[in-house]
Amino acid sequence: MSLKKPHAPRLSAYFGVFAALMAFTTLTVWAAYQHLGVWNTPLALAIAVTKALLVALIFMHLRYSPKLTAFVVAASIFWLALLIIITVSDYLTRPWLPIYGR
């Protein structure tokens, strides 16, 4: 119903996204070999999220879709976060309880 916005990106946008995705892939491989301490994984994930966003926004036309679609996507990420964060919170807090003799 709300198709007042442009329907789809220009053709050049696709090639731009492709180039960016390749560049990020190279970057993430390079970064994996660097000694960044605890930051290796967060950086890798940040790059992955950026790549995923590019794919979703341009290739999947999320940017040009109704708000409802964005809401649906947000819901999926939110629920995935619930699953992971709540489960992990159990594991993280297990050692908090002092057990005598341990």
Binding site: A8, Y14, L21, T25, Q34, V55, M60, W79
Partner: protein, 224 residues
């Protein structure tokens, strides 16, 4: 649906199913349905990602060591292949929305080719793992110098990439179905929903790999 056809006004387009007002409403419903389906896919893979997070935190050294046994060149190559296939898929959708029949077929064909390449490389990788007894189960041999829980890494590796590969196989099947339809000239400027929907699916499978690649192949490289 014989009687249903009568209910539709005579000038209604062939592709319009009887219970929709017009093609636009029909497409909107399809798109929403597809996105909701992708939500379920996110949570489907999400169960395994949760297991991954929990065990990786528990067995960090085993995971890093086992990850370094994966072939990063093949992994990176496959990542590039999949990204390229996403581009050709996006171009196929573009061609479909412009009613360019030959271009649709061409781009879909490239996408199938790249998808198959990915699967072929995956077969090579799996074979290496079998040869090195790195497949979890009865014949698993704990790699030298690694903790026993490296088996857990490979369990998750096979479950996650295996399920991803299954999605790729389904995707290739869907693309072949699209090629057949496109060659019959079924997609026009006005009606190209199937191409767009399969496109969404294909890009989603690509996104899953975008996460799998660093989480499985790259996590221990800095320790080398």
């Amino acid at each position: 649906m014989a009687d249903a056809a009568q209910a539709v006004a005579p000038e209604a387009p062939r592709e319009l199913r009887h219970h929709f007002v017009d093609l636009e409403a029909q497409k909107e419903a399809s798109a929403l349905g597809m996105w909701i389906f992708l939500v379920t896919e996110v949570l489907f893979f999400g169960g395994m990602f949760t297991a991954y997070v929990v065990y990786r935190a528990a067995y960090r050294r085993a995971f890093e060591g086992a990850s370094n046994l994966l072939d990063i060149r093949l992994g990176a190559f496959n990542t590039a292949v999949l990204i390229l296939s996403s581009l050709t898929m996006a171009l196929a959708v573009w061609a479909a929305s412009h009613g360019r029949r030959k271009l649709i077929v061409l781009f879909l064909f490239f996408t199938i080719l790249l998808g198959s390449t990915f699967l072929g490389v995956k077969v090579i990788e799996y074979k290496q793992k079998f040869d090195h007894h790195e497949v979890p189960g009865a014949h698993f041999v704990v790699p030298e110098g690694l903790p026993r829980q490296s088996e857990m890494f490979f369990s998750l590796y096979f479950c996650m990439t295996g399920l991803h590969a299954l999605h790729m196989i389904i995707g290739v099947g869907l693309l072949s179905w699209l090629v057949a339809k496109a060659r019959r000239g079924e997609f026009t400027r006005r009606y190209n929903t199937p191409v767009e929907m399969v496109g969404l699916y294909w890009h989603f499978v690509d996104i899953v790999w975008i996460f799998l690649f660093p989480l499985l192949y790259l996590l221990g490289r800095h320790t080398l």
